[in-house]
């Protein structure tokens, strides 16, 4: 089927979301709408509340102090910031936990470059391998909304590129809405339809990235986007080493 832009509906609706930890208000009347199928990258300073927002969208903050109205699709996948593999299940069993489709699990593991490690214990994986296994677990589900909290943080450049490709393919195939937390501005511009920067508990910057595929770092529009975002994050984007906000 060809994409029909007019048919786009909403995948995420957040109204007036407030989350507090003790006296600190981490999310402060945040509003956010993500159309179905949109790939959104979420940037923000460390501690700005990105994970808190993702956890709220995942419906995981039973205990949190706050308010707001959150609407999400039924089938949501979450890749946590920590890999969160169950240490007592072998890698494959972790990946297919709750799905029980071994073939699909093996495929997913192969896709993230862990073919042959199916029977390893999570404790025997390197940092990046664990992160990839967790990514595989969130991808086997073919979700309507994928919430990924820095899923590439511990990956080397090449593996990261491969994971980008994998994610792109997945998006092409199933068109989930994606909310991807990342610290890598290039990565955000490279992958996303839209980049958000979380500042002071709200969406401070909301930038649609209008670049054609394949995107290239060298593209002048790419560099413009990149610089705008870096500036929003408080970094002087000339590549200098001593940026002071």
């Amino acid at each position: 089927m060809a994409a029909d832009v007019g048919q786009l509906t909403t995948a995420v609706e957040v109204r007036d979301l407030v989350r507090r930890f003790g006296e600190r208000t981490v999310l402060d009347h945040l509003d956010l709408t993500i159309p179905a199928g949109q790939f959104v990258a979420l940037l923000g300073r460390s501690g700005s509340g990105k994970s808190t927002l993702l956890r709220a969208l995942a419906g995981l903050d039973h205990r949190a102090d706050g308010s707001g109205d959150l609407r999400v699709p039924h089938q949501v996948s979450v890749a946590f910031q920590d890999a969160r593999l169950l240490p007592w299940l072998r890698v494959l069993d972790n990946v297919i936990l709750g799905l029980d489709d071994e073939r699909r699990g093996r495929e997913a593991l192969a896709e993230v470059g862990l073919a042959g490690r199916e029977r390893a214990w999570p404790g025997q994986l390197s940092g990046g391998e664990a992160q990839r296994a967790a990514l595989a677990r969130s991808l086997v589900w073919e979700p309507q909304l994928l919430l990924a909290d820095e899923p590439f943080g511990a990956l080397d450049a090449l593996t990261r590129i491969r994971m980008h490709d994998l994610l792109r393919e997945l998006c092409a195939r199933h068109r989930p809405a994606v909310l991807l937390v990342t610290h890598d501005v290039d990565e955000a511009v490279l992958l996303a339809d839209r980049v958000l920067v979380l500042t002071d508990g709200r969406v401070g910057v909301d930038l649609a990235i209008e670049l054609d595929a394949p995107r290239s770092h060298g593209d002048p529009r790419f560099i413009t986007y990149r610089e705008r975002l870096l500036r929003a994050l408080g970094v002087h984007p000339d590549g200098g080493t001593r940026a002071r906000p």
Partner: protein, 281 residues
């Protein structure tokens, strides 16, 4: 949005939205019901009262709660209950202190060194698989029939669950934390204080819970031998004279103290484990 066009195959799913918090089934047990733990015992007392009042319960077998209440007030006004309780408390307290110390020290020796384990663990396992009935003659032989012997028997009963639970927690400490301690070159005492103890604390507390009631239970046996006061003695005497109501008062005292000391240990546990993020917290 132009980039959407660049995506080849499917239409985006058009899902019906649900509130995020309602989408998940809660798998944890939810918030604690305040004072909920008392519901069970209260129900039991209610059932007991009802059965007695309805005459279903033969008074000769289990006297009614009010009869027991009467006996209790009698025992209190004559001072007998308090006197016996005080003696028992002292014995249990003393035995508990020694048993706690011994269990902890042995668990540390055996949990932190392989030689210690080889020497300590076997005998402790041996001890705990031998009924105290079999040990009492030896204990009397070595320690006489005075207080010493009683305190030691209580202490042995206390030391076992402390030892087992603490030892298991010790050898169950996450290796990553031990590595951290090693690279920080913590001294052995510092390692114990900052890593081993806190990590083994939950297990130790479970042992403690088993131990506090354990110290009470030993009294029943111990206070039959050369005792002239104590709750166990009171019950033994009552048995000799067929005073089943006094026996039941004794059992209730056990129950109340058991619940209270357990609640105390739990409370302490809640406080010292406040860092824990667990299913039950």
């Amino acid at each position: 949005m132009t980039q959407v066009i660049s995506r080849p195959v499917a239409t985006p799913a058009a899902p019906p939205l649900t509130p995020a918090h309602g989408r998940l089934r809660r798998l944890g047990p939810g918030r604690a019901i305040p004072g909920g733990r008392l519901a069970g015992p209260l129900l039991i007392v209610a059932a007991w009262s009802a059965a007695s009042a309805a005459g279903v319960l033969d008074d000769r077998i289990l006297p009614a709660p009010w009869t027991i209440w009467h006996t209790t007030t009698d025992l209190i006004s004559s001072g007998r209950l308090q006197d016996n309780l005080l003696t028992s408390l002292q014995r249990a307290g003393l035995g508990f202190t020694f048993g706690l110390t011994a269990g902890l020290v042995l668990a540390l020796i055996s949990g932190l060194s392989r030689t210690g384990e080889a020497l300590v663990d076997g005998p402790v396992q041996l001890k705990r698989s031998i009924p105290s009935l079999g040990l009492i003659p030896l204990m009397i032989l070595w320690l006489g029939i005075g207080e010493g012997f009683k305190v030691v028997i209580i202490a042995l009963g206390v030391a076992i669950p402390i030892y087992i639970n603490t030892h298991v927690s010790l050898i169950g400490i996450d290796r990553r934390y031990v590595e951290l301690a090693e690279v920080l070159r913590l001294s052995r005492t510092r390692f114990l204080r900052s890593v081993v103890f806190p990590a083994a604390l939950p297990g130790f507390l479970t042992g403690l819970r088993l131990a506090v009631t354990g110290s009470w239970l030993s009294l029943v046996v111990i206070e039959q031998i050369n005792a002239t006061s104590g709750i166990g003695y009171m019950m033994y005497q009552a048995q000799n004279y067929g005073q089943s109501d006094i026996i039941i008062v004794g059992l209730i005292v056990y129950g109340v103290f058991g619940l209270a000391s357990d609640a105390l240990v739990r409370m302490i546990g809640k406080r010292v484990l406040s860092w824990q993020q667990t299913l039950g917290s």
